[in-house]
């Protein structure tokens, strides 16, 4: 585990995070009954998938008072660590409308817009290659990029709406509450434990300390989003990933701009500028620019974002700064210039797709949405799968509750047979070839897209991203110096997320603090919130001490892909995304 000498290639996996998830995050002895809170179904994560589960389940229960009655005083509890549902949610997002229309049959798309979470139907779209910082070449949209008829939405606004529906239907939505431990007893998930509040920097209880509570339930839904805190231990505990490929991650950073004149089309760009696509740098990235008409305020908004596969090798890759760089392209400038940035955020997403998906059920619990890895990173879409998985989970749980069945296995088959299974199977081998680099892998990707997944046949594998050896390259040389008006630094970006993390809270990020410079630089550049810092006087080569400014953290989760582990902070901490 030696450090490096000079600009060697060091993999973050050489510095595994100091954490034992099975030990720390699974609780095998339940508190006494009178100390527990007993609910019917507990849903971990008030995001689009978890709340779709709640919404669908409560729709079914509303027509079946008998089953509802049996669930007790709290039929459904949703645990959400943000201040409000949606506060930690971020996506592009342009969605296929089907699952939302299925879940909310009484709502028209005009209603969605009036509620403030949908921003218009896609009527025109364009895909560009950007060979250089000046050039943009319009290309015919590859089939997965076709978005005609889809809807631009905000997941943070959608989740707020879903929360309201859930509460009106009888759910208890416990915001500002982290689920820190999975309760497992006799080989079955029994619920979750909520996080303690009021601990000091070193974990010591402060004067206002309030311990967490065991929340027991008949069924537990893990809808924690990308790399859930409890999902990982659950997958290991119940061997759900047996035979699956390792999960891989991508990191997206987005901004919302209020613009002077409305954008008339949906835009995707596929590079290569400003990323370096050679196998050495290993950067795969793309962007989106979506028009958003805010019908509540009348504002013309634009969502712009940059996504990079975290399989890259240059430690100086910074998605936030790549986005700033990308904004200088004339194609973007003519859209944003004269406008004002009103939102910013960052979030990792699972990119492994079909072959990385774990088994979705275990005794007493199931996985929905990004926790299950349901993202189609070819079409850049996952929200409709999140909603659909929530619908299917809600139905599976309802039927189990009604019939007294203890297994949730039917959910597994329902997902496989649904649009989720079909769509993700089609693109199952599409992205893996990029591991060879964009140029060598590109033709295979095109083959996979062109044949709708029939070729290449079989199963292409993924490798773990923390095993990628890192080197200190020169991607950083292209980043613009922020001017505070059009291009921004990380900290002023974190600031507008409303990030409020208690200064004297314990550190929720587990990383080794003395690591090879290559690894430290990786973290420093990768983190969109400026959490990791290398002291000025650190040695140029060999190991360095990393300063972890964990109170900046926006909980994007990227660190988990590159050698660290994000755990849940105190409930209520972190950003408060509004329209991301």
């Amino acid at each position: 585990m030696s450090g490096s000498n000079g600009n060697g290639r060091v993999a973050p996996a050489a510095y595994p995070p100091p954490v034992d998830p099975q030990q720390e995050f699974i609780k095998r002895t339940l508190d006494d009954e009178d100390e527990r809170i007993d609910v019917g179904v507990v849903i971990v994560g008030g995001g689009t998938a978890g709340l779709a589960t709640a919404n669908r389940l409560l729709q079914l229960l509303a027509d079946d008072p008998e089953t509802m009655e049996r669930l007790g005083e709290v039929p459904v509890a949703v645990i959400e660590k943000a201040k409000v549902c949606g506060g930690h949610n971020l996506s592009g997002a342009v969605v296929r409308p089907g699952p939302l229309e299925e879940l909310y049959p009484d709502l028209t798309r005009e209603d969605w817009r009036k509620e403030g979470w949908a921003f218009g139907e896609v009527k025109k779209e364009a895909v560009y290659m950007t060979p250089t910082s000046k050039l943009a070449i319009r290309i015919p949209p590859p089939p997965p990029f076709k978005n005609h008829g889809n809807e631009v939405i905000s997941v943070s606004a959608l989740a707020r709406y879903q929360q309201r529906l859930a509460e009106e239907a009888g759910a208890y939505v416990l915001t500002e509450t982290a689920a820190t431990q999975l309760l497992v007893e006799d080989g079955r998930v029994r619920g979750v434990r909520s996080g303690d509040k009021g601990r000091g920097k070193d974990g010591e209880p402060l004067g206002n300390f309030e311990p967490g509570t065991d929340i027991t339930a008949q069924f537990t839904v893990l809808g924690e989003g990308c790399w859930g805190h409890l999902t990982g231990p659950a997958i290991r505990e119940f061997d759900l990933a047996e035979g699956a490929e390792p999960q891989t991650w991508e990191l997206g950073v987005k901004e919302i701009w209020k613009v002077a004149k409305p954008l008339d089309r949906l835009i995707h760009t596929i590079g290569p500028w400003p990323v370096k696509i050679s196998a050495k740098y290993g950067q795969i990235g793309g962007t989106w620019i979506y028009p958003m008409k805010d019908e509540k305020t009348g504002d013309d908004l634009v969502s712009i974002g940059f996504v990079v596969d975290l399989d890259y090798a240059d430690a100086t890759t910074s998605v936030h700064d790549l986005l700033q760089q990308f904004k200088l392209h004339p194609l973007v400038k003519k859209i944003l210039e004269g406008g004002e940035r009103v939102g910013w955020g960052a979030k990792a997403l699972p990119g492994g797709g079909y072959w990385s998906m774990p088994k979705l059920t275990m005794p007493g619990a199931l996985l929905v949405g990004d926790s299950a890895g349901m993202v189609d990173t070819v079409a850049l879409k996952g929200v409709h799968h999140c909603i659909k998985s929530g619908i299917l989970a809600g139905e599976a749980i309802y039927h189990a509750l009604k019939s007294g069945e203890t297994s949730l296995e039917p959910y597994e088959d329902a997902v496989e047979a649904s649009s989720i299974g079909k769509e993700l199977y089609e693109v199952r081998n599409t992205r893996q070839p990029f591991q060879k680099g964009f140029l060598r892998g590109g033709p295979i990707v095109n083959l996979a897209i062109a044949t709708k997944g029939k070729l290449p046949a079989g199963r292409l594998s993924w490798h773990r991203q923390d095993q990628k050896p890192m080197f200190i390259g020169n991607t950083k040389d292209g980043y613009p110096k922020p001017d505070g008006k059009y291009t921004f630094d990380k900290l002023s970006s974190v600031f507008i997320t409303g990030n409020a993390t208690r200064d004297d809270a314990p550190n929720h990020i587990r990383v080794q603090k003395n690591v090879a410079r290559e690894v430290a630089e990786t973290w420093k550049w990768m983190c969109p919130a400026g959490v990791y810092e290398i002291p000025d006087d650190a040695p140029e080569t060999g190991n360095v001490d990393v300063i972890v400014n964990y109170t900046n953290c926006v909980q994007c989760g990227a660190i988990t892909a590159k050698g660290g582990r994000l755990t849940t902070p105190e409930g209520g901490d972190g950003p408060l995304y509004q329209q991301t």
């Binding site: 630094d489 900290l491 002023s492 600031f495 993390t501 200064d503 300063i547 400014n549 109170t551």
Partner: protein, 324 residues
């Protein structure tokens, strides 16, 4: 109805600086309105000489009333009575704890409009119009009064200005304490408690950041603060508090304390936004940083690009020499 009543707080034979600013401002405004500024003092055995001094700041007349000091109730009673019987439309306060309490209570007593945290007052069409910063100083709103108006200033908003006038007419008046005023009694006043770091109350703050290099670097800040004297204190950024270089009580920033001293001297602070929101309303910002690109230079009034280890000790000596 064109006279202005203004409250003058005194303690141990001297006026509060903010009250003197309020008297000067009230005098200016009364002049524009074509009236006079009259001051009110409430206390135990107020000397006529002291009261008369307010003439030098523009008060045409000073009312003195016998009553307990340090509490709002007796002053509300006194001023309320003057409003009842006199030719007053406005009352002005220099801010501070008592100013806020008296101004608010008086507004309820005499059915007046009240604006607090006022930073500027103008005369428009023969009426006073007050400006106050709102929403964390991101915007300034203008208050207009329907009839009677009360203005409570932000500390240091009004300049203490002597107008060269002679002693004011002093008139002792009797005041009758309302039942509620009799229900509060001061036990001890003005007790000094050292020890605690009071960065919010200090008028000069020497703030240290990561650029100090190590915990011992704060000695440079401590020395400079001492050279400035009693009103100075040392503050710190979150980064150095996190690093354990300085106590949490001194932390400034988004989730720490928000300060607005007269002088904020930032040593080795880059000026990250979380820090900026905690100190940007400081009156004068001086920054010393070796990095010419540090964001703090974008909002400092005086920026020094250089090595604080060289500059701070010499600056401390120079300040000491000046303070003598």
């Amino acid at each position: 109805m064109s006279n202005i009543l203004v409250y003058a707080l005194h303690y141990e034979g001297a006026f509060n600086k903010n009250s003197l600013g309020a008297v000067a401002e009230a005098s200016r405004l009364a002049g524009e309105l074509g009236g006079e500024a009259h001051a009110v003092m409430v206390g135990e055995s107020i000397s006529g000489d002291l009261a008369g001094q307010l003439g030098g700041y523009g008060a045409a007349k000073v009312f003195t009333a016998e009553g307990p000091e340090g509490l709002a109730g007796p002053v509300i009673d006194t001023m309320g009575k003057l409003f009842d019987g006199g030719d007053y439309q406005y009352a002005v306060f220099g801010g501070g704890l008592l100013g806020f309490e008296i101004g608010a209570g008086l507004a309820a007593r005499i059915n007046a409009g009240v604006t607090m945290e006022v930073t500027g007052v103008n005369v428009v069409d023969g009426k006073l119009v007050a400006e106050r910063p709102i929403l964390g100083d991101s915007s300034i709103s203008t208050s207009r009064y329907k009839d009677k108006g009360i203005i409570i200033a932000r500390l240091n908003a009004f300049e203490v200005k002597q107008n060269g006038g002679g002693a004011a007419t002093v008139e002792a008046i009797a005041t009758e304490l309302s039942p509620q005023a009799q229900q509060a009694n001061i036990v001890t006043r003005g007790e000094q408690r050292g020890a605690d770091v009071d960065i919010e109350g200090a008028s000069i703050l020497i703030a240290g950041g990561r650029g100090l290099g190590k915990a011992e670097g704060f000695e440079l800040c401590d020395d400079l603060a001492k050279a400035f004297g009693n009103n100075a204190a040392v503050a710190a950024t979150r980064a150095v508090v996190d690093a354990g270089w300085y106590p949490y009580a001194a932390q400034i920033g988004q989730t720490g304390k928000t300060v607005s001293p007269k002088l904020y001297l930032a040593a080795g602070i880059s000026g990250a936004i979380q820090h900026k929101v905690g100190m940007q309303s400081s009156e004068n910002i001086v920054a010393i940083n070796k990095d010419a690109n540090a964001p703090i230079f974008e909002f400092s009034d005086l920026g020094i690009v250089g090595d604080l280890n060289k500059i701070l000790p010499k600056l401390t000596e120079a300040v000491k020499a000046r303070k003598g």
